[in-house]
């Protein structure tokens, strides 16, 4: 089962992602409301998630900075960026994110992207 860490500061969206992912049969192994918590949670996990669903604009630490730190901890971690700000897509990919989905997106898009990213490995 694909293990996913959700990083999203919008709590209702965080809850929706959780519902979506479990509906599709993925396992949500953790949730973080900001970049700093995401790094802390990732660091504390004995078994790292297969994929991280990462928002960008968040309090304390944004998604790009959190991704840089996470990739330093585990180099080939797969990170799917979800953001309403398309202008940060190239920056996200350049720091090592695996893919970028612009908000708002259909849940099938997210489903397909997770499958694609996971199977690419």
């Amino acid at each position: 089962m694909v293990k996913i860490l959700i990083v999203e500061d919008d709590l209702s969206l965080q809850r929706l992602y959780e519902m979506m992912l479990t509906t599709f049969g993925f396992e949500v192994v953790g949730k973080a409301s900001n970049g700093k918590d995401a790094v802390d949670i990732f660091l504390s996990m004995p078994f790292k998630p297969d994929i991280i669903l990462m928002d960008h604009r968040m309090p304390l630490k944004n998604g790009i900075d959190a991704s840089i730190e996470i990739l330093k901890i585990k180099r080939h971690t797969k990170i799917i960026f979800t953001s309403a700000d398309k202008s940060i897509a190239s920056k996200a990919l350049s720091v090592g994110a695996t893919s970028f989905i612009e908000k708002p997106f259909a849940i099938t898009t997210l489903h397909q992207e997770i499958e694609r990213v996971y199977n690419d490995s």
Partner: protein, 628 residues
């Protein structure tokens, strides 16, 4: 004399005496067997040879002058042709007659004598050579100078000219000799009126005049009388120099000076002329337009720092002035030197000066051309203000666009995802409680979207409009907001409790107070993961620095705010250095409204040291006191 023999018809003693007394050296040669022998000499020769001649007496000619065949040739020539003649010659004799020049006279005395009289002209020759050399040098000098030198008689007939004079009319010197000077240069039949030569002859004094010739050239002519030994004027020297270019330059300079004077007098800009010590030498009438509390006469002679009143309030400008003046003295130009000056004791204006170095009658002066730019400066200031406003407006627009792009997209993402999921769940009809949750999320997001639109509008109003402050019953407003939110979130388990001992709480506020309360409470509901959302509002009074406030504490059981975020959450706005995302516009609006009320806001942990237990938003609003 012992060898003088017969053949002499004169009385011997008389001859001897006469011969010996001849003041110039003399030799007597006698021919014998085709050779000549020195038979006698006089005292002058003895003296010249310092007695050495004595040793040559009786010797044969070629033995005496063996190195000089010319004298032998001449003696032979005189004898053979019976001819008496004179000749300039140079010869050496013994140790004392060397390199001397003589005029030798060869006289034949029949039948066999030749008398040679020698006049030593070595000294005269040297003088003559020196004179010749000096003459040549003078000639070179006269020929070299560019002035025309004409030596003429009393009737203006040219006796001599130098080369420059001849060249000026493209003629040779000899073509000018004998001509009248007025025929050559001014091409006239009679002397020029006011001719300085005629005048010099007449007055016996040097005279000068400027004259022009038909070809348009201008000349400076000086006449000098020439006197003879008896002080009679016998001739005149004319020295002429072409001054056409000088006169033209003078003319141009005069014109330039006139133009400058005209500009100086009529310029709309103030023109200051100061000397290199900083003393005002002159200023034009326009100066009154920029400095009206001094008269121009008062200003002249004063130091520029006094004229511009730099010592009164603008002392910091003095080093700048000194720097600019030094720059100008170094030959550089200073443009757009902007500084303030006092037009009157009460009025300050801004001026722009161009500073340059000028030369007037050999004096170096520093010229300040000063223009009043007060109007430009004010326009510039207004433009700057306008730019700031435009920049603020631009940033504000960008900020709202940014908020909309982010928050609306998140809202849409919520609604879209909730509907997608709802569709799946409805097909399954297995988890009705999840469907209810999804419907609740959709409703929340609609409230969130409505709140966002309302906040943007209100924020824009707060920034652009002026709101009056009035007495408001804060408790009444708070209760209305509480009721509205309870209704809006009826599907959530929201509990809002107001603790106050007062029935009415009057504050200085306005209609925005409801937006303030609504935003604090909506945030408390939104950022809460608990099934039961609990908000307690404690109301009390507080005195702070002589002011009375109503203190409202909004204590929730939400996700809390880490310490590092506690100040930043109120800073979100278009001027904030750091974009704090995910918090909507609510707290930004709350902060702005409280600024309007001269109130305060801060956030602390519900339980000190553990932010995860929830937050306490504390606000202070100025209280309306019973006595007014």
């Amino acid at each position: 004399m012992n060898n003088l023999n017969d053949g002499l018809e004169l009385d011997l003693e008389k001859f001897k005496s006469a011969f010996m007394s001849i003041p110039i050296p003399c030799y007597i040669w006698k021919r014998k067997e085709n050779k000549f022998y020195l038979v006698s000499y006089n005292k002058a020769l003895n003296h010249l040879s310092k007695g050495e001649i004595k040793s040559y007496l009786g010797m044969e000619l070629s033995q005496i002058f063996n190195d000089d065949s010319m004298i032998s040739m001449d003696i032979n020539n005189c004898y053979n042709n019976k001819l008496n003649y004179c000749k300039e010659m140079r010869y050496n004799l013994g140790n004392h007659i060397k390199n001397r020049i003589f005029i030798a006279t060869f006289d034949f005395i029949s039948p066999d004598l030749v008398v040679v009289f020698t006049e030593d002209i070595t000294k005269q020759k040297k003088i003559e050579n020196t004179l010749r050399k000096e003459e040549k040098e003078k000639s070179i000098i006269l020929e070299s100078i560019s002035e025309h030198i004409v030596y003429q008689d009393l009737k203006n007939k040219i006796l001599w000219t130098n080369k420059a004079a001849a060249d000026s009319v493209d003629l040779k010197i000899h073509n000018l000799i004998g001509k009248k000077c007025y025929e050559i240069w001014p091409k006239r039949d009679s002397p020029c009126i006011g001719c300085p030569i005629i005048e010099a002859v007449k007055t016996r004094k040097p005279t000068s005049e400027e004259m022009s010739t038909p070809d348009g050239r201008i000349w400076s002519i000086k006449g000098y009388p020439v006197f003879d030994a008896k002080e009679n004027v016998v001739a005149a020297v004319e020295i002429t120099k072409e001054i056409t270019q000088i006169k033209k330059a003078e003319e141009n300079l005069k014109k330039t000076q006139l133009k400058y004077q005209e500009l100086f007098d009529n310029s709309p800009y103030s023109i200051f002329l100061i000397d290199i010590n900083g003393i005002l030498v002159d200023c034009n009438a326009a100066t009154k337009n920029i400095i009206s509390y001094h008269t121009i006469d008062d200003m002249i002679g004063k130091h520029f720092t006094d004229v511009l009143s730099l010592n009164e309030g603008n002392i910091h400008l003095i080093p700048q002035f000194k720097k600019k003046i030094q720059k100008v003295i170094r030959g550089e130009e200073v443009k757009d030197f902007i500084f303030p000056i006092s037009r009157t004791a009460a009025e300050k204006i801004w001026v722009s000066a161009s500073v340059s170095l000028i030369k007037i009658v050999q004096e170096r002066l520093i010229q300040f051309i000063i223009k009043d730019i007060t109007e430009n400066k004010e326009t510039e200031e207004k433009l700057k203000e306008s730019e700031v406003k435009f920049r603020e407006s631009f940033n504000r627009t960008k900020f709202y666009k940014d908020i909309f792009a982010h928050d609306i997209n998140n809202i849409l993402q919520n609604i879209s995802s909730a509907i997608d999921l709802l569709n799946i769940k409805v097909e399954e009809i297995t988890v009705p409680e999840e469907c209810e949750e999804l419907l609740s999320i959709i409703k929340d997001q609609v409230i969130r979207g409505t709140n966002l639109v309302s906040n943007v509008r209100t924020l824009s109003d707060v920034e652009d409009l002026s709101f009056s402050i009035e007495e408001i019953n804060a408790l009444g407003v708070l209760k209305d907001v509480k009721n509205f939110l309870i209704k809006s979130y009826h599907d959530k388990n929201v509990e809002i409790m107001i603790n106050t001992p007062y029935d009415e709480i009057k504050v200085y506020a306005n209609q925005l107070l409801s937006d303030l309360f609504e935003n604090i409470l909506i945030n408390a509901i939104r950022y809460n993961r608990n099934h039961s959302i609990q908000i307690i509002i404690n109301i009390s009074k507080r005195k702070n620095k002589d002011n009375n406030f109503i203190k409202l504490e909004f204590i929730d059981n939400g996700i809390g705010i880490p310490d590092t975020m506690k100040e930043k959450i109120f800073q979100r706005g278009y001027n904030a250095k750091e974009f704090v995302s995910g918090l909507g516009l609510g707290l930004t609006l709350v902060k702005k409204i409280l600024n309007l009320y001269k109130g305060e806001i801060w956030v602390q942990d519900k339980i000190e040291g553990d932010y995860t237990q929830g937050s306490n938003f504390v606000i202070l609003i100025p209280e309306v006191m019973a006595n007014g």
